[in-house]
Every structure is written in C-alpha cells, then in structure tokens.
Symmetry: C2
Subunit: 446 residues, 2 copies
C-alpha cells in the first residue's frame, strides 16, 4: 500500500500557506468575484500564465539579488532553474512581447492567480497569496494611468469602502526627478534618493538624515527635502511642484493630467498626491501609486505605476504600459478591521451558493428522497437532502434553514409534497411532486 | 535598472505549461464555471489547499518512487523538501484528518486548481494542468459512490455530451478480488494481477500472458482470466460475477448496489461495468471508475474510486471516502473533437463578458467619451469605447459588434445620444444621455 507511517507525525500545510475550508474559500471567492466583475466592467480581458517560470525571467529584471526572495528551484533530477512566480509583471511583459504585432492598442489585461514569496510569514504577508493584476499596455497617455486607478477605485467602492477608509497616494517619478533636479540634486543621486524617500516615513528623521549622507547627499540636500515636506503637508504636491520647479515644469505635465482625469471623473476625493510614494521597484518610469488604509494600521493594500521600458527588456518592441497589483491578504485584514466582510449567508447569496431546495422526507417517503434529489439536480436545481436519520420535520426544517436553502420540499407521500418558501415563510400544501420544479422557480442566476 | 539583456534571448513559458491569452482563458473559465456550477448543484462545497506541499505528503502514500514524477524541490537556500502538488487527494486527506471531529458526515467537497507533473508533454498530458476534484468523505454506502458518478454525469450532460460520446466504465476492487479468489488465484497474486489487468487492453495477448507469468501466474490462471473475458464481452460483468463466484458473492453486493442506484436515477445508460477498469493507484479499496470517450481516441477524461484507508494513513480516524478527478486537457480535446466547444461569442455570453454598452463619439463629442464611460462603469455597466482615431460611425458600430456589445451609444451632442440594440438592430434616437443608464437595462447577470 505505502511506506509505513509514523503515527506521531502531524501532516501540515507548509509555513505561510493556507488551507481553505468551505467558509474561508467562499470569502476568497467573493473577493475574486468582485475583482473579476470590476475588471470586466472596466473593459479588461482576463489572462493567465504558468505558475512557475524560468528563473531568468525574474533575474533579468531585478538582478540575482532577487533569488533569495523567491521559491527558486532546480527540479530533483532536472537541470533547468525555475521559480514559482513572485509577481505577474514579467509574465505579462513576456506574453505582450511574444504577440506584440497582433495585440490591439491599447491591450487591457487583468489576471487573478496565486503568487509565492520566500519571506517569513507575518501579519499581511504570506508565502502563498492571491493577487489581482490590472494593466493597460501600449498607451502612454496619463489617462491610461487614470483608467487603472479608476478601476482600482471601482473595486474599493464595490466593497463598501469610502474615501474615509482608504486613500490612493499618487506620485510621478518624472515629476520627482524634476523637483530633485531643481533642488540641485546631482543626477547620480536621484535614483538612490527616490529609493530612500520610499522609506522616509518608516524611519526617524535622524535615520533619514544619516542614510541620506551615506548615499552622498549633503546637508543642503537634506534641508531641501525637509523644506519640500514642510510645504506639502503631504497632500498639495502639485502646488509645491510649481513653486519649486517654476518654469522647469515639463510641458507634458504628467501628474497634473492624471489628477485632472480623476477629478473630472469624480474620483479625486479618493486620492492625494504624496511625495513619499515612490515604490521600491526600479522599473517604474512615471506615475506611481499605492492604496493605503487611512489609519495606516495595515500595509499597503495595492500598488502600481507606469513601466514604459519593461516590455523592451523582454525583447518586445518599445511599449508603454501601466498597471497595479492587489493581494488578498492585506485586503481581507482591512475588510475585517472595518467590519465590511459580509456574513457567510450574504456571501452564499452573492456567489449563488444557496440551495434552491432542501428535500425533507417522512418515515414513509425516505426511500424516495435520493432519486427525487437526483432528478431535481438534472433539472438544473441545486438540491440537497439530509444525511441524518431523524425524520422530525421541525428539526429538518431547521437544517434546511442552516443550509440557507430557498425552499424546503417536504415529501408527504409518493406523489404529493409541501413546498415552503424559507425566506418568506409561506407554505403551499398538496403540490404534485412532479410539478415541484415549476413551483420552485429556476434559480435566479447570480 | 537590471542586468544587461541578451537581445537574442527569447523568453518562453516552461515546457508543458500554457500562456492563456483572453480567448484561451475564456474557454478555460467556461469549463471551470461548468465544473463549479455542477458541483454546487450536487451539494458539494468548494475548498482549496496550498499549491505546494511538504514532499512527504506524497511519498507516504506512494513511496519514494513517485519523486521522479513530481516537481519536487528544495528551495535554494532552504532545507525543507517540497513538491508542487501532482494531485489533490493527499491534501484533501490531510485537511479531512485535521478537522475530523468537526466536519459534517458526510462531508462533500470539490476543488478546481492547478496541478503539476514532471512528465514529458504529449497529447492530453501537460506539466501544468487544471483539475476538478469531487469527493464524498465519511459515507461508506454504495450510494455515495453513485452520487459522485451522478455529479460527473451531470457535468458531461451540461456540456452537450451524450451516452453515445462518453462511457463511464465501472468496476469494484472487492468484487474483482472475489472473482480472482474464486478463480483460485492465491492471495499474494491478487494485487499484482489487478495492476496488470489495468494494462491488459494496452498490450497484446502474448505480452499479457508473459507479464502474468512474470508475476507468478500459472497457465491455468491466465486461462481463467481469458475465460472470464470471453464471458463478459466487457459489459455484463454482474452476470459473470454471479456465475463465477456463485454463493461466495459478498452480501454487501457493493457493485450491484451502485449499479442499482444509477439505474434508479436514470443514469445507467451512461455507464457499463468493465473488468479491465482497475486504476493504477494502489489506494483504491472498492468502486473504481473511468470516463472514456467512446471511440477510444483520447486518454481517459476522468477517473476515481473509493479509498477507505487513506485518511487513516494521514493519521485521521478511520474514514471512508470516494471521489474522482477530471483534468482540463483531455476534456478540451474531446470537446474540440466533437465540435462541442462553444463559439467565442457564446462563451462571452455564458460568462457575462459581453459589454453592456459601447460608446461611440462624433468629432464634436469625443472629449466627453472617457468621462461618460467612467460614469457608466460607476453605475455598474460594462462600458467600452474605441481607442482608435476614426470618427466614422459605421466603422465604430462594426467595432462595437466585434466586441459583442449589447448596445451602442452614439454620443450626438453634449446631452443627446442615440442608443442602438446590437442584438435586435432597433435604434432609439434623441435620448437624453443622463437617462441612458435606465434605457440600457442593468446587465442580466449570468
């Protein structure tokens, strides 16, 4: 049969992964369903790629340093180096490069799949998690950035979140570079300064000054950063931008155009410009944004930006692109924090999981139940029955209610039944059982 | 930015994995959706587990021999041995064992997830594939076997397949052992003989005889097997069973009870008993079955059976269980062979992917399009617009049709539009644009 078994061994899911029993999975599916419906409504088409990729797909973008953060592996007995995908963008860039000549412009794609990171599990971070990716490829307009952000807001709104709960913090790397240049930062200091700004609010003022000096910033540079921050109060970045850079403000006005688009569409109340939002990843080339819970008690809910050079890096033609990703772990914590995760009954309703009919036998009719249930299922109804031995109708009605069934069908005799609407409590007696399907309206598909 | 890139390098998906562009993914989602709806209708609850597990979860069941068939790995820099899941049953057994005391009896679970096998890709076999698993746990009755088979048939029927297209071949290991014992096979020969029977139709009569002798069978044993096969004609197994074993037929009549259940529920026309269906895996303890395309031109579409000892093996309490699995690869080939894969337009309809409204601007109104589209999306409609520069209404109506949109909204002026029903061709002019949402009925969800 199998190798002898050690009776003391407890089989467990790997650290940082999850077992989804029915209630947990229904909650996950509810989020997935909202992600999918929001994406479709905003005109995105769903795609997917392999769960693991050749390792070089990740090192070409991020260098060998990324390997320690990956589940990278050589299959035992094989020679190729693979990695479980830690993010979607390299797969998307590879797929876009492969069909660059035949894809529509712009191409609007979304995906919902599992991802893997070899970090130590902690609140908001797991080793396997789901992620929603939304991307507009082949459109360099700031409106495309706005369209991604609008889709993200459309999702947050569909969950019942409001601008009081979450904030989209928006910045633009081109604008930031303009500010830093106007503030007399030498070119070679700009990139490391941006990386450091990303961490500014997570460290003390002293640590920030010390780390700035380490990368070669002078006291004058540090003072200028401080002055900019005093000006902004972290939200009127556009004014600061104009004040600081004056007539050096680029004519394309990238950030301003994105802000205009969101304002015109009534979405600006969800957003603020934020000089500290830079995003760690080096491949962003323009707009960057993050979604944060307003109290700041959880990690970022989502993040993204424009990456106009990436598809080229995978040997596709020069192709502008913008997108964002949102994981299920932090999002679920925020929904729980705010009491916005619906009840299990509501989720069952939303996902179309409610049984249409729960068949209840009497002692005389129990031999008919399984055949009737099989027949109802063939007619397209979600039919359930008890597996318990009790024939107490009251107890079984309670069981039907617990299963959130829409109707109970009490099988009174070979041919006659009672149908009870469990939502309204209304009851119809003496129904011919072969007419029951017609009475229990076909499920309102959801 | 990143390491220098070799411009001649072509980035590809790993061998045996798939990139799903929108049309391919829609076909996959269509199958997933049918799997899910069928499972729910039959009273199963969805679960999921980690994409990778500790390697010992697979070796405890199948021995170390299985490692070469797995994507097993030690993470670079780590020490634990993992494997990408090759099948669901060990995860299910682990999850059932962990909550054995609180799960309902029976527990009816299904799952739809990706699986991984390190075999050489060929027709019907890939290295990453989707699989649907359906299991009834904690019910040792032959009706539970029948309920699984009924769910499988319910799915096949929902695709438009008929008993002329596919056959469920059913056998029972207990009955087979009874036959072999009655045919004077010594106990130690029964297990290897079952494994060999599983391959009987894939090899010649001479090869079968030779391999039988290799495992220790005599010419008398081989002749008895031949005689049984002549009797059965591969379908009236129950008669053979009674003829061969006479009063040694077990009182529980496992196979006969499953056949009765399926017959009573009008499902027997899909099935036949088949002495050669044994299933390779050693853990089956009773009913075994496989779904085959009737012409035999493809591999098995699905397979499963009863595994009453497995949850114990994962240190749960003794728990009977029965289930089956169906992959997406062979199934898709069969649907293509038979012309049963719906058109892309039908799939878009079934999955709710059709745009509710396609907004068409004129030269005068093009500045209004994006804001109107954003507004329609916030109202819950799936709204699209052209990204092309043409303002030729005829061309744009064609684009709306190609997108399978339900309605076109031609933006005539700041406040007035024409709404065209693209299914019926009916057109309404001079509609106030702010009343458009009400005219384009909210999408009939499905």
């Amino acid at each position: 049969m199998a190798t002898p078994n050690d009776k003391t061994h407890v089989f467990q899911a790997p650290k940082g992964t999850r077992d989804f029993y029915p209630l947990e999975l229904a909650r996950r599916r509810w989020i997935e369903d909202k992600w999918r419906q929001t994406s479709i409504r905003h005109g995105f088409d769903e795609i997917d790629g392999p769960t693991f990729e050749h390792l070089d797909l990740y090192t070409v973008k991020s260098g060998d340093g990324i390997v320690s953060e990956l589940f990278s592996f050589t299959r035992e007995g094989g020679d190729k180096r693979y990695a479980l995908r830690p993010e979607f963008t390299p797969t998307l860039a590879r797929m876009a490069a492969a069909r660059a000549n035949s894809l529509p412009k712009p191409t609007k794609w979304f995906s919902i799949c599992p991802y893997f990171r070899a970090e130590n599990p902690q609140r908001g971070r797991l080793r396997e998690f789901l992620q929603w990716n939304v991307d507009v490829i082949g459109d360099d307009s700031p409106e495309a950035d706005g369209e991604c952000i609008a889709c993200c807001i459309g999702f947050l709104e569909s969950l019942g979140l409001t601008p009081n709960d979450v904030t989209i913090k928006i910045n633009n790397r081109v604008d930031m570079e303009t500010i830093l240049t106007a503030s007399k930062f030498p070119e070679e200091l700009i990139e490391p300064m941006l990386v450091l700004l990303d961490r500014r609010l997570k460290i003390t003022k002293e640590q920030f000054a010390e780390e700035s000096r380490k990368i070669g910033a002078t006291d004058d540079h540090i003072n200028r950063i401080e002055r900019i921050h005093k000006l902004t109060g972290r939200s009127n970045f556009l004014d600061v931008l104009r004040d600081t850079v004056g007539d050096k403000y680029p004519e394309t006005r990238p950030l301003e155009t994105t802000v205009d688009f969101l304002t015109k569409n009534g979405l600006w109340e969800w957003c603020e410009t934020d000089i500290d939002t830079v995003r760690g990843l080096a491949y962003y080339t323009g707009t960057v944004f993050e979604v944060h819970e307003t109290t700041g008690s959880e990690r970022a809910i989502a993040g993204g930006g424009r990456y106009d050079k990436l598809i080229e890096l995978f040997n596709g033609p020069p192709t502008p692109a913008v997108g964002f990703a949102m994981g299920d772990v932090v999002l679920s914590l925020v929904l729980q924090d705010k009491g916005l995760m619906p009840t299990d009954e509501q989720i069952a309703q939303d996902l179309g999981l409610r049984p249409d009919v729960y068949v209840i036998p009497t002692t005389e009719t129990e031999h008919l139940v399984k055949t009737l249930v099989a027949q109802l299922r063939r007619e397209g109804l979600h039919a359930r029955h008890t597996y318990k031995s009790t024939r107490n109708v009251g107890k079984l009605l309670k069981e039907a209610n617990n299963a959130h069934a829409r109707f109970a069908l009490i099988l009174e005799s070979d041919t006659i039944c009672t149908i009870k609407d469990l939502d309204s409590g209304e009851q119809e007696e003496n129904v011919a059982t072969d007419k029951a399907v017609a009475r229990i309206a076909p499920p309102t598909t959801e």
